[in-house]
């Protein structure tokens, strides 16, 4: 005779995404369920293993009966949800958001060390952004090459804050943060001093690996040479959670 079943703490719900009936634990978010089921949802700030940021707005989905769009990364599933992830309207919004990103800084893919390995570049292609309709902002930023191993290029930064979060939540150093408001925002190390002079940076390089673009890269890399490896993150996040 099997031992009596223990009452589970978390219930399972069923929901419908893009016409597919799916089941999910009620503590999962829409984006987690989509990733599990190979339903592609574009995202830039979301990264498994880091806290939810909800800022890139690319993972917005439509929920039946709800006027406002929902961010798939920050919305938990509920019983009976009817979700559309790729409507014509969502595609149009996503294209515009990606265009806004390209126009905001100086993303010249052809001479970027992350060319061919960049999440923004990949998103532009999958969202069908073959040109940018809004004018380029033409702001100029300085490259911070003061760190002996890594380099920061604000021109490629999309302010997803993955570096800020991984440094704070996984490495525990909180070297990175954001300063300024609006389009004047930029990521900084410590109190906006050169990265190489940071007292808190442990040179672990996690920020470089989680950076979706060519903003944070290894020194000495040339065009297209910077390939990032993010496999460590869910493993570390799980172990940290288990502690």
């Amino acid at each position: 005779m099997p031992p009596p079943a223990t009452q589970p703490n978390v219930r399972v719900v069923t929901l419908n995404i893009d016409g597919r009936d799916l089941s999910a634990r009620e503590d999962e978010t829409i984006i987690e369920v989509c990733r599990e089921n190979q339903i592609p949802i574009p995202s830039l700030c979301y990264l498994e293993g880091l806290s939810i940021w909800g800022a890139c707005r690319l993972c917005l989905v439509e929920l039946a009966g709800q006027g406002r769009l929902l961010a798939a990364c920050s919305t938990r599933v509920t019983e009976g949800m009817q979700i559309q992830t790729n409507t014509e309207k969502l595609q149009r919004y996503r294209r515009t958001i990606v265009e806004l990103l390209f126009a905001e800084r100086n993303h010249v893919c052809s001479v970027c060390v992350s060319n061919g390995h960049c999440e923004l570049q990949y998103l532009a292609q999958t969202c069908g952004v073959d040109h940018v309709r809004v004018p380029y902002r033409q702001a100029s930023y300085r490259v911070d090459s003061s760190h002996e191993m890594f380099r920061l290029d604000h021109d490629r930064c999309i302010l997803c804050t993955r570096c800020v979060r991984v440094c704070d939540e996984i490495e525990g150093a909180h070297t990175w943060d954001v300063m300024g408001r609006g389009t004047e925002c930029r990521v900084i190390t410590d109190m906006a001093q050169p990265w190489g002079e940071s007292d808190t940076c442990t040179s672990c390089g996690k920020c470089v690996q989680v950076c979706p673009t060519g903003a944070l890269v290894r020194q000495g890399t040339s065009v297209g040479e910077m390939v990032k490896d993010q496999h460590f993150l869910p493993i570390l996040a799980r172990r940290r959670h288990a502690q």
């Binding site: 390209f102 100086n106 993303h107 010249v108 893919c109 052809s110 001479v111 970027c112 060319n115 061919g116 570049q121 990949y122 532009a124 292609q125 999958t126 069908g128 952004v129 073959d130 040109h131 940018v132 309709r133 004018p135 380029y136 033409q138 702001a139 100029s140």
Partner: protein, 180 residues
């Protein structure tokens, strides 16, 4: 049996490295097939020196950096039914637009004076005046097809032309991307 009329194609390069035209030539033996379906009526690759009044497809490489680029872009828009931006410089400014972060005078000084040791001087005669801001083609005239890439591969150019020859609007996102 009559052969279908060939479509006419005009190309030129503006502020770019002409790499997209080299990629065009990289179509290799497919060029022979292409020549049976299109007439290249104006291009750096052929001898004609004037743009005909009516062209089916105009292809522009490079960005708008000078008065001359501007004139050519206007002329292409005026005379071509379909205008194609070929390559990243045409599509988004790319490398030529990297000077936009500096003042034009500083850029010219840097190129012709600061870094020149023998007789530094800024050329003024016989060269078109530079614009203060480098723009992609669609920053000055309407563009119908965007083919990003630095340069777009021969396959991508072949795909775009084949679709246009067949009378369809191509979707280059399926074959190329920024920086490809």
């Amino acid at each position: 049996m009559s052969t279908p009329p060939k479509i006419t194609v005009a190309t030129t390069w503006l502020d770019g490295c002409s790499g997209c035209h080299m990629s065009f030539l990289d179509m290799d033996e497919r060029l022979i097939e292409l020549v049976q379906q299109v007439d290249i009526v104006y291009s750096p690759l052929v001898d004609t020196k004037t743009l005909p009044d009516h062209v089916d497809v105009g292809i522009l490489e490079g960005s708008i950096s000078s008065e001359d680029d501007l004139e050519k872009a206007y002329a292409f828009r005026k005379h071509c039914k379909i205008l194609v931006s070929l390559g990243d410089c045409a599509v988004n400014g790319n490398v030529p637009a990297m000077r936009n972060h500096f003042k034009l005078a500083d850029v010219v000084d840097h190129a012709y004076r600061d870094t020149v040791t023998v007789q530094p001087q800024t050329p003024t005669r016989g060269v078109p005046a530079l614009l203060s801001l480098v723009k992609p083609i669609h920053g000055v005239v309407g563009v119908d097809v965007f083919v990003p890439g630095c340069p777009p591969s021969a396959d991508a150019i072949w795909y775009v032309l084949s679709e246009l020859i067949a009378g369809r609007m191509p979707d280059p996102s399926s074959v190329t991307r920024f920086g490809a």
